[in-house]
Amino acid sequence: MLQYFVKRLGIALLVVLTVSVISFGLLRLSGDLAQNLAGEGATPAQVDEIRVLYGLDRSMIAQYFDWAGSALKGDLGRSLFSNDPVFELITHRLPVTFTLAVSSLLLAICVALPLGVFAAVYRNSWIDRAALGLAVFGSAVPSFWFALVLIYVFGVQFRLLPISGSTTWAHFIMPTVTLSTMVMPQIMRLTRGGMIDALDADYVKMAWAKGLNPMAVFFKHALRNALLPVVSLAAVSLGFLLGGSVIVESVFSVNGIGSLAYESIKRADFPVVQSILFVLSFVYVVLTLLSDLINARIDPRIRLH
């Protein structure tokens, strides 16, 4: 078990490292940061000065190790645009996005898990069809469009909910609902599929044959086995939501990591973009490790691997 996780951890670190190299290289492809820093009116001499001032004249490898070295110490450099320490920018914004992503995931799970279970239990019934219909619709509706419709209906027409910002819990309702539609269908489908497999399994037949009541069969015997892929998906989804909240954040003016990334991409503030990619991949890797731990709790076969 411990060895298994040491190995997983090693691979995870390698993954993060690779991601950081790729994002670093990718963003340096995007052109000369010194030009951006100097602004449109600058002369070549001024650009050169800036290049030296910011250390951009050194080799890519030296720059990477420089960045990676400070990143290990928690220093992710400074924004080209506002000169703020990137670490602070991210730590200011991450909690907002994290709240949003976690609440969306929780909402998605709270809706999708029971729905998936009952859709599997009552296969081909109206509840199954309704759940599948919801999943099909949920995975087809463009989130930005859905967000606008929500704003229109609940924000403008009925004025029930605040439209933008992230001050109170009420502000999070519409973004959470919108964002959760991005992961809910998948969780629902996976729960349903896993439950169908589990319900067909011999050990569930055995549970029925033991005279257990339906709730014990569904939730004790079937769901726990169906849950493994759902837990993994939930971790992946959370990572996805953290990085994919950019649209929702933009529409609802939530000042999270997504909008920071979006703004930074638009204005070519690449130290920020690069660090966000790095941090998100790190978070993702941590989440998958976490899901592995949870799965190991759920399934002893993994534990004793």
Binding site: G31, N36, S82, P85
Partner: protein, 519 residues
């Protein structure tokens, strides 16, 4: 009237009857949308319109420019004299204080100028200040600013240099980027709350010395990047002021009772240039007839009236510079809209079937580029929009990849035509004209102090641009302030231009702030 529209108007009516704006004269709080989140109330760290709007309420520069009389006037400075070609001496107003009660004297001015001129301090667009060598406090009310060689645009630059208190700013040391979260200035508003997510809260500083106190007791700046969210919030009564970004936004909101739009003219210039030098590998624009054909194909009036917010209220733009700018020559007649002539010019130049063209653009000029592309397609040029982010645009420009560019002149508000020619012709990056006369003329104009000679050089430069069809001035771009009818906007020419549309809250001398409560 269809279902949606009916619901819409019902909703609108309901909204206005049911709940009045949350903000308003009752509690003296004004809520303003920020199209880009402001990370720091510090124009040096974050050069951009939204930062300017907030920073200008907190800080004051040495001087301001009066667009009415087209002359500089003192703000923190009382008077100024040129010592020599490279030095100007400013006399400060006596007894000025910062919001923390510390004295505002020549030390602070010298500190601020030396801070931005210091080659070791890092911030973006620093090259704007590269002509400054430094400043020196002669006595508590006298400060001398030195430039690298004769620098005719020093006064224009000075209006964009807010003065920081030396003690508190220097105390931050290397963490000067944090200054903007709790800034201390000498302006009419103090920052009392700063949060990137919820916004910036400012309160009126009753100790303001440089002009009449503004009317709003407090202002909340809320970051709202999305256009429709701004409208929704405005309709929901949670917002008082938006700087409009499209004519549709204006038309939409003003069609409802309770909302008004006020136009403040002449903020930006929209322009287009073509790769006459052939840097991107295309050769057709080296023929002046093709360039003329392109410019003839574009209906500038239609673009101004339909695409540019407030465009109907401003006149035609005939030159690249704005009329209030020092040295901007009058006259000028850009190529008229004449698609037939455009087609025949193209045929004459050997392109009867047109050609493929990428019209690059970035930022807010994108709809204009889209309209331009539509016009070019109408005369047979297979144009498409190449919308870029700032970074990609700069990269492409430096690498010589632009075939044609529709963009805006982003330093609007600096009241000197020298800034304009410098912007277009000084840097080799931007040189898609291939005419050596242009940089030569610019270099001369920006290294002498004789205003008449400069004006002559500007006229020569801009006439050359017009004759050779290098650049098409498309439109002057006003700022449109969308506001509730509880707010009044004074759009008359005034003496406090400094990124004018974004200095809505400060007042100098006897002139009140642009924004106030409606009676």
């Amino acid at each position: 009237m269809n279902y949606w529209s009916r619901i819409m108007s019902a909703a609108g009516a309901l909204m206005l009857v049911a709940s009045p704006a949350l903000a308003g004269p009752e509690d003296g709080t004004l809520t303003v949308a920020l199209a880009t989140p402001v990370e720091a109330v510090d124009i040096y760290m974050g050069p951009g319109p939204e930062v300017a709007m907030t920073a200008n309420a907190v800080f004051n520069p040495l001087v301001a420019y009066d667009t009415g009389s087209q002359s500089y006037r003192g703000v923190i400075a009382e008077s100024w004299t040129r010592i020599d070609d490279e030095t100007i001496e400013f006399k400060l107003r006596p007894d000025l204080v910062f919001q923390d009660g510390s004295a505002l004297d020549s030390e602070d001015v010298a500190y601020t100028i030396n801070f931005i001129a210091n080659p070791e301090t890092r911030f973006r667009l620093k090259s704007r200040y590269s002509s400054l060598v430094g400043a020196e406090a002669v006595d508590p009310l006298t400060v001398r600013v030195a430039t690298r060689g004769p620098f005719p645009m020093l006064m224009a630059r000075m209006i964009g240099i807010p003065i920081y208190p030396s003690d508190s700013h220097s105390a931050l040391g290397a963490d000067y980027a944090n200054w903007g979260r709790a800034p201390i200035g000498s302006g009419p508003y103090r920052v009392v709350g700063f949060d990137e997510s919820t916004g910036i809260v400012m309160e009126r500083w009753d100790g303001y010395q440089l002009g009449p106190l503004p009317e709003f007791k407090s202002i909340t700046f809320r970051p709202l990047p999305d256009r429709q969210t701004q409208i929704a919030e405005m309709m929901a009564g949670r917002l008082d002021v938006i700087v409009a970004s499209s004519p549709d936004q204006v038309a939409a909101l003003t069609s409802m009772p309770g909302f008004e739009a006020t136009i403040i003219p002449d903020m930006l210039v929209q322009y287009m240039y073509l790769d006459a030098a052939g840097r991107s590998g295309i050769e057709f624009f080296s023929d002046v007839r093709v360039r003329q054909a392109v410019f003839h194909a574009i209906d500038r009036d239609a673009i101004r009236n339909n695409i540019i917010s407030g465009g109907t209220a401003v006149g035609e733009l005939t030159r690249l510079c704005l009329p209030y700018q020092v040295g901007c020559p009058d006259g000028g007649s850009p190529l008229s809209y004449d698609p037939d002539l455009a087609r025949s010019l193209l045929a004459e130049a050997g392109y009867p079937d047109g050609f493929d063209l990428q019209v690059s653009t970035w930022g807010p000029s994108r709809p204009i580029a889209e309209a331009v592309v539509g016009y070019l397609r109408a005369v047979g040029i297979r144009a498409s929009v190449d919308a870029l982010t700032l970074g990609a645009y700069r990269q492409k420009q430096v690498e010589g990849g632009l075939q044609a560019l529709v963009s805006s002149y982003p330093y609007g508000g600096l009241p000197d035509t020298g800034v304009v020619v410098d912007f277009f012709f000084a840097s080799p990056d931007r040189d898609y004209y291939g005419d050596p006369r242009l940089p030569a003329l610019t270099a001369e104009a920006n290294s002498i102090l004789d205003e008449d000679r400069r004006a002559a050089l500007f006229r020569e430069t801009l006439d050359l641009v017009q004759d050779e069809a290098f650049i098409l001035p498309i439109s002057r771009d006003p700022a449109v302030i969308l506001h509730t009818d509880a707010v009044s906007v004074d759009a008359s020419p005034r003496g406090d231009v400094l990124f004018a549309q974004f200095s809505l809250f400060e007042s100098f001398g006897t002139t009140p702030a642009i924004l106030g409560w409606a009676d």
